[in-house]
């Protein structure tokens, strides 16, 4: 079985030819591959280089320190606390539920923690880490560290969290920060501010935290970090430090605020205290209050429901949002109106039989004092708070004049305080009623307006502002909570200069007469005499009562017979010392009953602190004697 030589030669040449074909094929294939390499590595190099760099380098923002908020004396009201947070990198985890179960064995994960995590997971769009639980206790941190090796894709980090060391105190002033919600994001996008929030997790949601957000926020720094495919930082290439936010110093005296809050003793209500000469808001009390710390990491739905559904409405900022009938507190302004418009002279006396009737009508508008005050002039009308005097005055003056004069004290307008949510109250007139109810103005409407009832509504903020304008003899300083903003980098201080919002001129004589009448209110025989007893400074004040429910003709209001929530609201407005006012305030106690006995003592405690530096303690308790 041997090949012949000829066969051998033919076979061989065929074989050699095929080898050559193979060799050519090989070279061609490799040339194609080299061609492709050339395209990738030279022609498209820039493209792939960019892709590789963006794979590799990511900007990791670093949270700036949010600016501190202090009271006027530098007492810290809002600060930042380093908090341990457990975060999950969902991209690194195959079975999220199993990981959460394991994690639950190490740290305490409540139902609400799970709910919050689920919400964040839904809202997260990228491959970021998602916080599972913040505010870990030391024990939890220790347990987590010991079990870390079993928890792939779970990391412990520290974050700066806003903290309000005073708890419920001044909560409505400060407001709070919260995690940036999808709505916040949309808003920031529409304002083109998204870039400023890269690396920042929370945003001021309310109060001065919201108003001064831009100052407090600071600027996030960032690190250029080389990251691996799992998104973890491997090493830092470059770093830019974050810039802390500016410090905000408030005009508020937190001790005064506290005295005010404590004076409520659990009742509902509001106080606004203003320095009349500057517009500084010294205290802004809203009771009951809430703990803003609960909002910082996203509020627990159960707490939210409780706060939101409570009949006491702790979230409502009463001094700004609570519009109540001002009641008798309107009388000093009406009295000044009478003098300024020349409607009544100070000497003009009326006789109060205990009621007022419109000419030609039978309806009796009753004075709070059933038996009447007898002969009453302007001074006495304020001191004893005679309703009958003002019914007649309002009718004589007419609603338009009344409206216009009250407008000079900012009734019916927001004061322009530097936090959101202020209501404008209501200073009614004919045009308003026509527009609002498509109804004409009746004489009876004017009668009610004369004693601050009927359609008239005012917030505690407005009454305090009006008192401050009266105290400052017509020069109105716009009320403001912020006193100065300190740039920590440059040390520059931006002062919120007191600037007159407007000036309204009154005759000094008229002004003094009304102010003297208000002083009479706090003297023996006045409706707030007891609360002011023993004060070493003169107080100009006015009590008031705002009706919650209307009384039928001939029906007598008896406190003991009325459901607590239907009782009258108690008002007291004041400024002191009467001749050189340092503080003007308005106190409202919801369903408190009498202004003199319930609201005035709160004002007294605050004025004692502000004027005398005397903390409450040994002063006489408010009696039940004096009404109005």
């Amino acid at each position: 079985m041997k090949l012949t030589t000829r066969q051998e030669i033919t076979r061989n040449s065929q074989y050699q030819a095929r080898l050559q074909i193979a060799a050519v094929f090989i070279v061609v294939v490799f040339l194609v591959l080299i061609g492709r390499l050339t395209v990738l590595q030279t022609v498209q190099y820039d493209y792939y280089h960019t892709l590789a760099e963006s794979n590799r380098i990511s900007l990791v923002p670093s949270q700036p320190n949010r600016g501190l908020i202090t009271d006027r004396n530098g007492i810290v009201l809002a600060e930042n606390r380093a908090v341990y947070t457990v975060e999950i990198y969902p991209k690194e985890i195959d079975d999220l539920q199993a990981t959460l179960r394991n994690l639950g064995g190490v740290i305490d994960l409540s139902e609400s923690d799970r709910r919050r995590f689920d919400k964040r997971l839904r809202e997260s769009r990228n491959f970021d880490s998602i916080a599972v639980k913040s505010f870990l206790t030391d024990a939890e941190v220790a347990r987590f560290s010991a079990n870390k090796f079993r928890l792939k894709g779970v990391e412990l980090t520290t974050h700066l969290f806003r903290s309000y060391p005073m708890g419920t105190t001044a909560a409505h002033i400060l407001g709070h920060v919260g995690r940036i919600s999808p709505q916040d994001k949309a808003l920031l996008e529409s304002r083109g501010q998204t870039a400023a929030y890269r690396g920042i997790e929370s945003i001021g949601k309310d109060g001065v935290e919201k108003t001064y957000e831009t100052d407090l926020r600071g600027v996030a720094g960032y690190a250029q970090v080389e990251t691996d495919a799992a998104g973890r930082g491997v090493r830092t290439i470059a770093r830019k430090a974050s810039v802390p936010g500016n410090k905000l110093r408030l005009a508020v005296d937190i001790r005064l605020q506290k005295i005010g809050e404590e004076a409520f003793g659990g009742r509902r209500g509001a106080v606004v205290a203003i320095d009349p000469a500057t517009g500084d808001i010294l205290a802004l009390v809203s009771q009951p209050s809430f703990d803003p710390n609960a909002f910082v990491d996203g509020i627990d739905p159960a707490i939210w429901r409780e706060l939101n559904q409570s009949l006491d409405k702790p979230l409502t900022n009463r001094p700004l949002r609570g519009a109540y009938p001002p009641g008798s507190t309107i009388k000093p302004f009406m009295a000044l109106a009478a003098l300024e418009t020349g409607t009544r002279s100070p000497e003009r006396t009326i006789v109060d039989p205990g009621f007022y009737t419109l000419p030609g009508q039978g309806h009796q508008y009753r004075c709070w004092k059933t038996e009447g005050h007898g002969s009453v002039d302007l001074h006495r009308s304020v001191v004893v708070s005679c309703d009958t005097y003002y019914y007649g005055l309002a009718v004589e003056m007419g609603i338009e004049k009344t409206h216009d004069f009250l407008a000079r004290f900012n009734f019916g307008k927001a004061s322009g305080i530097d936090i959101e949510g202020e209501r404008s109250g209501l200073n009614p007139n004919e045009a308003w009623k026509r527009a609002r109810f498509k109804d004409k103005w009746y004489a009876g409407d004017t009668v009610s307006a004369g004693i601050g009832q009927g359609y008239v509504l005012a917030t505690p903020m407005q009454l305090a502002y009006a008192a401050a304008v009266l105290a400052n003899r017509g020069t109105a300083f716009r009320p403001h909570l912020a006193k100065e903003i300190v740039d920590l980098q440059s040390g520059k201080v931006r002062r919120i200069e007191p600037k007159p919002a407007y000036v309204t001129h009154f005759s000094d004589d008229n002004l003094d007469r009304v102010r003297e009448a208000m002083v009479g209110v706090t003297q023996p025989g006045g409706t707030a005499a007891q609360a002011a007893a023993g004060a070493p400074y003169r107080i100009a004040g006015k009590t008031g009562t705002a009706q919650v429910i209307g009384m039928k003709q001939g029906q007598k209001y008896k406190e003991s017979e009325v459901d607590e929530r239907h009782r009258d609201h108690a008002w007291f407005i004041a400024f002191a010392p009467a001749d050189d006012p340092k503080i003007a305030l308005a106190v409202l106690v919801e369903n408190g009953g009498h202004g003199g006995s319930v609201a005035a003592p709160i004002a007294r405690k605050m004025m004692d602190w502000w004027i005398l530096g005397k903390a409450p303690g040994a002063e006489p308790t408010a009696g039940e004697g004096a009404a109005h």
Partner: protein, 368 residues
């Protein structure tokens, strides 16, 4: 030099072709350097590969001692054992990653398809050699059947990559033996015509790989991820590369399978186009040297097997590089002498051992 040492080294080198040996040596060195970077400078893993090289070298040296006729005599038993093992795998194999490829033998497990890679071309070459005086069409038919049997079994596992390599090795034997161009053309047309049928019997993941090749961006985090990341690695390497151990794609975990199937991407990222052309040049040189050995070989078996082995080496390299730079679908084919892995290295060692033996016995008559 010490004369004894000189004698010993002569003893060591005598059976080996110095040209082929030095080319393989340089490529292996590049492989080890690249691997050191690809395993993140982990010495234990790198050392394991050094040991694999040792084993492969030993296999090559031992096989080089054996004459081609003795190797030819092994063709039938090796082929039979290989096919039987493939049947055993089909019946009782272990499923890893959805494919039945492994067989438990006592304490270890083996992948019989590796053995078949060498045994199939040997068997066909042996058969054609036996009938060399009178090669007719029906001999080629039998050769095709001998190829189709293990090919079908490997395809069933399924292992598309290995099947392709076995098919290529067998085809090279038939081609070099003089399979008519007309038949090859017909076969190609038939294959084209049967593509839709093939598509319908393919596994989902195989279809996905082909679709991914056509547009890797369609599923960038899924099936296209390997290809995209590999292309970024290669492309960002540029002309001269990012430097040894400085590849960002590989060292930051973006590149999957970077010490095995995708090691060429690591190399091209760190050494750039210049490096890639050098490596491809080396591979071409090795293949051409293999073909030279085939050209000088005596006896049909030696010629066919030498040619098939050289062309198989080419196929491995081209398929692997083609896959990494996105011109071929992702199939699990390692880059010879560079990818990490003992099995593939030992198979290479055996193959080059056969080449060395054929080279050493060139011009000698093969006994029948």
């Amino acid at each position: 030099m010490n004369p004894q040492l000189l004698r010993f080294s002569r003893f060591l080198l005598r059976p080996l072709d110095p040209q082929l040996l030095s080319l393989l040596g340089v490529l292996s060195l590049i492989g080890l350097i690249t691997l050191y970077s690809a395993v993140d400078e982990s010495l234990p893993r790198w050392s394991a590969q050094v040991l694999n090289f040792g084993a492969a070298l030993l296999c090559m040296w031992l096989v080089a001692q054996v004459s081609p006729s003795r190797i030819a005599a092994l063709a039938v038993p090796l082929y039979l054992v290989g096919v039987l093992l493939l049947v055993a795998v089909a019946v009782n194999g272990e499923v890893v990653n959805g494919a039945r490829r492994w067989l438990h033998v006592g304490v270890t497990r083996i992948q019989p398809s590796e053995l078949v890679k060498l045994a199939t071309p040997m068997m066909i070459a042996w058969y054609l050699h036996r009938h060399q005086e009178d090669l007719r069409a029906h001999h080629f038919v039998v050769g095709t059947v001998l190829l189709a049997l293990p090919l079908g079994l490997v395809l069933r596992q399924p292992d598309l990559g290995t099947a392709m390599l076995i098919g290529a090795a067998g085809f090279y034997v038939l081609f070099l033996a003089g399979l008519r161009y007309r038949i090859i053309l017909l076969g190609l047309l038939g294959a084209l015509a049967s593509l839709p049928v093939l598509w319908s019997v393919m596994h989902d993941y195989q279809r996905k790989r082909i679709l991914t090749l056509l547009d890797p961006t369609e599923d960038p985090l899924g099936a296209g991820y390997h290809t995209i990341q590999a292309m970024i690695a290669v492309g960002s390497g540029g002309l001269t590369g990012k430097g040894w151990t400085n590849g960002t794609q590989s060292h930051l975990d973006f590149l999957p399978e970077r010490h095995t199937d995708f090691i060429f991407a690591v190399f091209a990222e760190e050494f750039g186009m210049v490096g890639a052309v050098v490596v491809i040049g080396l591979i071409i040189a090795i293949v051409l040297r293999g073909l030279r050995i085939a050209s000088n070989a005596s006896g049909l078996f030696s010629r066919l097997i030498a040619g098939s082995l050289s062309l198989s080496f080419f196929t491995y390299a081209a398929v692997n590089i083609g896959m990494v730079i996105g011109v071929l679908p992702v199939v699990g084919v390692p880059l010879p002498l560079i990818s990490y892995g003992g099995t593939s290295l030992v198979t290479m060692g055996l193959g080059f051992g056969v080449l060395m033996s054929i080279h050493r016995h060139r011009g000698m008559l093969v006994s029948h």
